[in-house]
């Protein structure tokens, strides 16, 4: 579009730069406010910390101990749940997807359609009964919730993997079979490596979903013992008898950091993953 016109291009670049600065500014506003005295945050959120309002890391120190639940624990649970739920989803659904695509009998097709169906069911439909089931089965802990995530997240993952498995030529697997590989060795030795691009896409999508999910863990996890970061922040804001906006700003910054680090380390994969996910979805 703008290939010919160098001036036009420069102008576009400048405009885009301005827009980008505005676009990213909310994150910086929060970062800036996390270093300010709590009384001057809501009064003047857009003012840089001055000599009077600068408090250094005080908000952070207060934030990590604020409320009735230690922040580090919710970080730990968030990381644990996200990592292991994602791994479980990747492992089990890729196996299932390969199997049901290859066997392709009535049962398998039935499961496939159930999975597609589950993708359109909103969480509110099952929120109560799911939390009730999880409680009955003793799944209301960070290990048990992995099963819940595997079940509720299976639909999308199976769907995406099936789409990919269909495109893998059968000959490769048949050759392996002739060489004497059983299904397990065939799957882990041959199919899984081929599936890497889709594994990455699914991994990205599920990680982002689970890390940021609020309502499912809030309803499923046992409130006596476990909280994830979103639950912790929602709980602290305005609700706990006293609300400390300085501490909340600090906690927001702390909870954004891991995901930003994750983004910058695997940006290429994330972008690819979303593109792949979109084409399939």
């Amino acid at each position: 579009m703008f290939k010919k016109n160098a001036i036009g291009k420069t102008i576009t670049t400048i405009i885009m730069t301005l827009i980008s600065v505005v676009y990213i500014s909310p994150i910086f506003i929060v970062l800036m406010n996390s270093f300010k005295l709590k009384t001057s945050i809501s009064a003047s959120p857009f003012v840089l910390p001055g000599a009077e309002s600068y408090v250094g890391l005080e908000n952070y120190m207060r934030g990590i101990t604020f409320g009735d639940y230690p922040f580090y624990k919710s970080v730990m649970y968030s990381i644990f749940i996200t990592v292991f739920s994602t791994l479980a989803i990747l492992l089990f659904t890729s196996m299932t997807a390969w199997y049901i695509t290859r066997v392709d009998n009535k049962i398998c097709r039935g499961i496939y359609y159930f999975c597609v169906f589950s993708m359109i069911v909103p969480f509110q439909m099952v929120m109560y009964t799911l939390s009730k089931t999880a409680d009955t089965l003793n799944l209301s802990n960070p290990v048990g919730i992995i099963v819940v995530y595997l079940g509720f997240g299976a639909g999308l993952a199976v769907f995406m993997f099936c789409g990919f498995v269909k495109s893998i030529p059968l000959e490769i697997e048949e050759a392996a079979n002739i060489d004497g590989c059983g299904p397990i060795r065939t799957f882990f030795g041959i199919v899984l490596p081929i599936m890497k691009p889709t594994l990455i896409s699914v991994c990205i999508l599920e990680t982002m979903w689970i890390w940021n999910d609020y309502l499912l863990p809030y309803l499923v996890l046992d409130i006596k013992n476990y909280r994830t970061i979103p639950i912790h922040i929602q709980y602290l804001n305005g609700s706990y008898g006293q609300s400390d906006i300085g501490a909340i700003m600090a906690l927001i910054v702390l909870s954004i950091i891991p995901i930003v680090v994750f983004y910058f380390t695997c940006q290429k994969h994330i972008i690819k993953g979303i593109m792949a996910g979109a084409v399939k979805g």
Binding site: T39, S42, D68, N105, K106, I107, R109, G110, I111, S131, K132, T133, D135, T136, L137, N138, S140, L219, D222, I223, K224, Y235, G238, S239, Y240, G241, Q242, S243, D244
Partner: protein, 435 residues
């Protein structure tokens, strides 16, 4: 194919209950779903002490402000449901009666000083009030004395400050001369954030409800008339127009904001109760009020004969034991309660750490100046205002009133909608709750 899937599904569904059966431990334990965030840390400490002494695990969970009913609803449905929970009075009891254990014959019931502190239906005792609280308009004695001594003061002593007109005069004169007095306003901000809105949509709303009940000689109603709505408006106007902030910003003001304003002596008046003492008293860094600086006024709304009105005293905290819990858990819970109200650790925690006045025989006197003030009012023969918000039909009513008050304060809503929330909302919610 459908048959096979169904068979498989059924098989798995049948395995589910087997999982369920094997998880539950048999040791007795107590799970207390606490209503009062102010005392969360103290309850947890007390629970830990008990566990250390007896080996019985006691878990304390406090629901976030404004979400108790919601948390209780979802927790009661769980396998490890609270064994000890709270209801706020007859209306709350109506919701949870099927889950309330009959206290009759229990040791903890025998410790009560009077049967007035029970929730009884028929011959069954479903709830025990464990704390008697008092609220009113807390004031800073030093600042108010400064006002009395000033040349712009019309009212010169606390004895004259005994009705709404006088309160209005004082508040408006303080507001007009706030710089001279070194404050930001007469009242602390009447924040309508969920951490603070209950002070107005429940505690302040009790005043018009109380006077209407008094006039009619009733204790609950299916349709409130709103006879004292004008008085409610008068006191609300006074609060919002003579405060540390503009009424339009109240929507986002929090409980902490008001607390900080009072603690840092930027406001003279602060509507709250005995439970607030701990959060505004002088702390380790030297900020806050000395015990001798606390005063408390009745909430005057301009009703007839209010010169003799006392503070608002009552309870909306009734302990209930979950009747659907296992027998061992029920027993453990009753033992825990008995220990709390009789043991040295329990009684001193209730009195000193939590600052509660409790209606139990071995209770210790609370070291809370606000409690002392409350007792003085009773000794003087003033008529205490009862807590009638236990007859409010639902939490939704309070929320609806709160949002109407917020918008009235901000100028985006009219007083009519406050009236509608108060009167029509009551009717709707009463009907919904008593289908």
């Amino acid at each position: 194919m459908i048959k096979k899937i169904l068979a498989l599904t059924l098989a798995i569904l049948m395995i589910i209950p087997m999982f369920a059966a094997c998880g539950k431990e048999d040791t007795a334990s107590v799970y207390y779903l606490n209503f009062k965030p102010e005392q969360d840390a103290q309850w947890k400490a007390l629970a830990a002490t008990y566990t250390q002494k007896t080996g019985i695990p006691v878990t304390v969970v406090t629901a976030a402000e404004g979400t108790y009913e919601q948390t209780l609803t979802s927790e009661m449905d769980k396998k490890e449901a609270p064994t000890l929970f709270q209801v706020n009075g007859p209306v709350g009891l109506a919701n949870w009666k099927d889950y309330c254990y009959d206290f009759s014959g229990s040791k903890v019931l025998g410790e009560l000083t009077s049967n007035d502190f029970t929730l009884v239906e028929g011959n069954k005792v479903y709830g025990i009030a464990y704390v008697v609280e008092t609220y009113g308009i807390i004031y800073n004695k030093t600042l108010l004395a400064k006002y009395f001594a000033s040349n712009f003061a019309t009212i010169k002593s606390i004895d004259k400050l005994n009705n709404f007109a006088a309160l209005k005069t004082v508040a408006e004169e303080i507001q007009a001369n706030k710089t001279a007095l070194g404050v930001d306003g007469a009242f602390t901000s009447a924040g309508m954030d969920s951490s603070s809105d209950w002070r107005f949509q429940t505690h302040l709303a009790n005043m018009p409800i109380y006077y209407e009940y008094q006039a009619k000689g009733i204790g609950s109603t299916d349709a409130i008339e709103g006879k004292y709505l004008d008085n409610y408006r008068a006191i609300w106007d006074l609060y919002i127009n003579n405060a540390t902030c503009n009424p339009t910003v109240l929507a986002s003001k929090t409980g902490t904001d008001a607390e900080t304003e009072f603690k840092t002596e930027k406001a003279v008046f602060y509507q709250n109760g005995t439970w607030a003492y701990g959060s505004v008293k002088k702390d380790d860094s030297g900020i806050g009020l000395e015990d001798s600086e606390f005063g408390m006024l009745p909430i005057y709304i301009g009703a007839d004969g209010e010169e003799n009105q006392g503070l608002c005293t009552g309870s909306e905290n009734f302990w209930c034991v979950n009747s659907k819990a296992s027998e061992a858990d029920i027993q453990a819970t009753l033992d825990f309660l008995y220990w709390v109200v009789t043991s040295e650790e329990g009684t001193s925690s209730l009195a000193n750490d939590m600052g509660f006045v409790v209606p139990f025989k071995s209770a210790k006197a609370a070291s809370n100046p606000l409690v002392t003030i409350a007792n003085e009012y009773i000794a003087e023969g003033k008529t205490s205002v009862s807590w009638n918000f236990s007859s409010i039909p639902s939490e939704k009513w309070k929320k609806g009133l709160g949002t109407a008050l917020t918008q009235y304060a901000a100028g985006t809503g009219t007083w009519d909608s406050v009236g509608s929330a108060f009167v029509d909302g009551w009717k709707t919610e009463y009907a919904a709750a008593n289908q």
